[in-house]
């Protein structure tokens, strides 16, 4: 079975500084990878996804992530954060031949942007 580890539960960062949110996964077969963002009292919104092809994936709001198969990682980055990026971020994985099985989510990383 696959699993997802988000190494940091909380990440404080100053406005306009760069940020990296770490995600590692475990799976014996090929996977799809996702990052979601959740603003307070809202549902989850897809930031970006890796399906195949280029390992550098660009998403909404200036975020990007890089798939590293050898390190089984899919870290999320943004070169300059804004106050509005304060939210919870979830990494998720699914098998390429997933059938009907649900996504497997990490426990989330709370990003706090400080003015």
């Amino acid at each position: 079975a696959q699993s997802v580890t988000q190494l940091d539960s909380q990440v404080p960062v100053f406005e306009e500084a760069p940020v990296e949110l770490r995600c590692n996964y475990s799976s014996s077969v090929s996977v799809y990878l996702f990052w979601y963002v959740q603003y307070p009292n809202q549902g989850l919104q897809l930031l970006l996804k890796y399906l195949s092809g280029s390992t550098l994936v660009k998403g909404i709001n200036g975020f990007e992530a890089e798939f590293n198969k050898s390190q089984t990682s899919f870290h999320l980055r943004k070169p300059s954060v804004h106050i509005s990026d304060t939210a919870e971020y979830f990494c998720a994985v699914s098998l390429r031949q997933s059938g009907n099985t649900p996504l497997v989510f990490g426990k989330g990383t709370r990003l706090s942007v400080i003015a």
């Binding site: 799809y32 996702f34 979601y36 009292n41 809202q42 549902g43 989850l44 919104q45 897809l46 996804k49 399906l51 979830f90 998720a92 699914s94 098998l95 390429r96 997933s98 009907n100 099985t101 649900p102 996504l103 989510f105 990490g106 426990k107 989330g108």
Partner: protein, 113 residues
């Protein structure tokens, strides 16, 4: 385009009362449907998922149940709420085809007193 609705948005219920949360999806057919719960300070916990009308898979044995009476309707219920049922409940759907990308509703905040 597809949209997903949940209601109510917020709910305050006494311990021992029943519960019914509703989720509906528009703009797609035969979706897979999911119920998640977020307790305070915790991540997402998958409660139930459904691949078709009347087909429910339970991930965590507990005080809740789910039903899917129509293709695009997913209901979360309880006969008697517990304090521990408090949390933020999220419904999600995905297409049967494609890379398993899930789309989430706006959520229901449930407080059991």
């Amino acid at each position: 385009s597809q949209t997903i609705h949940q209601w109510p948005a917020t709910l305050v219920q006494p311990v021992g009362s029943p519960l019914s949360l509703e989720c509906t999806v528009e703009g797609t057919s035969n979706p897979n449907l999911y119920w998640y719960r977020q307790a305070a300070g915790r991540g997402l916990q998958l409660l139930f998922y459904s691949v078709g009308i009347g087909q429910i898979s339970s991930e965590v044995p507990q005080n809740l149940s789910a039903s899917r009476p129509q293709d695009r309707q997913f209901i979360l219920s309880s006969k008697k709420l517990l304090l521990s049922d408090s949390g933020f409940y999220l419904c999600a759907w995905r297409s049967r085809t494609g890379p398993n990308e899930q789309f989430f509703g706006p959520g229901t905040r449930l407080t059991v007193l």
